[in-house]
């Protein structure tokens, strides 16, 4: 069953997390912007901002993940 993860497996699971994280953050940002737009009638401006902010959020999450090894000992704000 689930042994302690070897480096190959750890790397693979990390790689699988990163890609999805980027895409989904952008999509969620766009979706939020779209909903706010249809609510406030300002199409398409909030959606544009949402895509950008979502992209930033995705990169931030990936950055946190990629540097989590060094931070592991100190604080635990894992995205």
């Amino acid at each position: 069953m689930a042994e302690a993860p070897d480096p190959f497996r750890q790397g693979l699971s990390m790689a699988m997390r990163l890609g999805v994280e980027l895409v989904v953050s952008t999509v969620v940002g766009a979706l939020l912007g779209y909903l706010l737009d249809s609510w406030l009638g300002t199409r398409p401006w909030i959606m544009v901002a949402g895509v950008i902010l979502g992209g930033i959020a995705g990169f931030r999450t990936v950055y946190y993940l990629a540097t989590s090894d060094e931070r592991d000992k100190t604080d635990h704000h894992n995205p």
Binding site: M1, A2, R9, L12, M16, E21, V28, L32, A57, H77
Partner: protein
């Protein structure tokens, strides 16, 4: 044989309509029963005759439960042991769903977005409830990363809200996409083997075997990732930074 996504379609086997809801029994429902049965059988067989020097199946169960225990304590602290039964159940259900789905002719329940979506939603809503219960309204400071300068707040707040909302979505989409993609690739390769005949068919067949082995690894890893992230999200709610 034309549409490689056809085998994901659910057909009602026993039609059942109650209170205006379609509760028909389909392949996915039956597979979930089989999964519950197999997991129960596995642990029953493992705990049937506990020995100091464990049998093969007993040591398999012991190693994996021990491993999940360190995972829970690492990510959620000793307080998180309350969620240990939930985490173990989650891991084994997803693992067996992924593995049993690889048997030709069976059905992969984790290839349905609604199944993984509900799992992710349960984990996420649970973390929200736990967070608000332990920290009250103070839990909202999870939206402010520690050490954020005040002038950055208007920018950081929307970003944090988006990344919070993305959590359940990534959880659901990752498992669903990996399972669906893997099974589609297997289906296409196997179809190429059938179309190729004896002369050239051995080539896609070799790839089918290779991808199948990869899918076994993916089945473990995806169950593992889902469980890790569940503990991390719940741990964030318990510890709050």
């Amino acid at each position: 044989m034309e549409n490689p996504l056809e085998h994901f379609a659910l057909r009602p086997l026993i039609p059942l309509h109650l209170f205006g809801l379609d509760l028909s029994i389909n392949q996915a429902v039956i597979m979930m029963w089989v999964i519950i049965g197999m997991v129960s059988l596995f642990f029953w067989a493992a705990a049937r005759r506990p020995q100091l020097v464990p049998s093969k199946i007993q040591s398999m169960a012991e190693v994996s439960v021990e491993f999940l225990r360190t995972l829970v304590i690492d990510n959620m602290g000793p307080k998180g042991m309350r969620f240990f039964p939930f985490i173990v159940t989650l891991f084994f259900f997803i693992l067996f769903a992924n593995l049993l789905g690889l048997i030709p002719g069976s059905y992969t329940v984790t290839s349905q977005l609604i199944v993984t979506g509900i799992f992710a939603l349960v984990v996420y809503v649970m973390s929200l409830i736990v967070g608000f219960r332990i920290h009250g309204l103070h839990f909202l400071t999870i939206l402010v990363p520690p050490g954020t300068p005040a002038w950055l707040l208007p920018l950081m707040l929307p970003i944090e809200i988006i990344s919070q909302l993305a959590r359940p979505v990534t959880l659901a989409v990752r498992l669903f996409a990996n399972m669906t993609a893997g099974h589609t690739v297997l289906y296409v390769l196997f179809g190429m083997m059938l179309a190729g005949g004896v002369l050239i068919g051995w080539l896609p067949f070799g790839f089918t075997v290779a991808v199948y082995l990869l899918e076994v690894i993916v089945a473990f890893i995806q169950a593992f990732i889902f469980t890790i992230l569940a503990t991390v999200y719940l741990g964030d709610a318990i510890k709050l930074h």
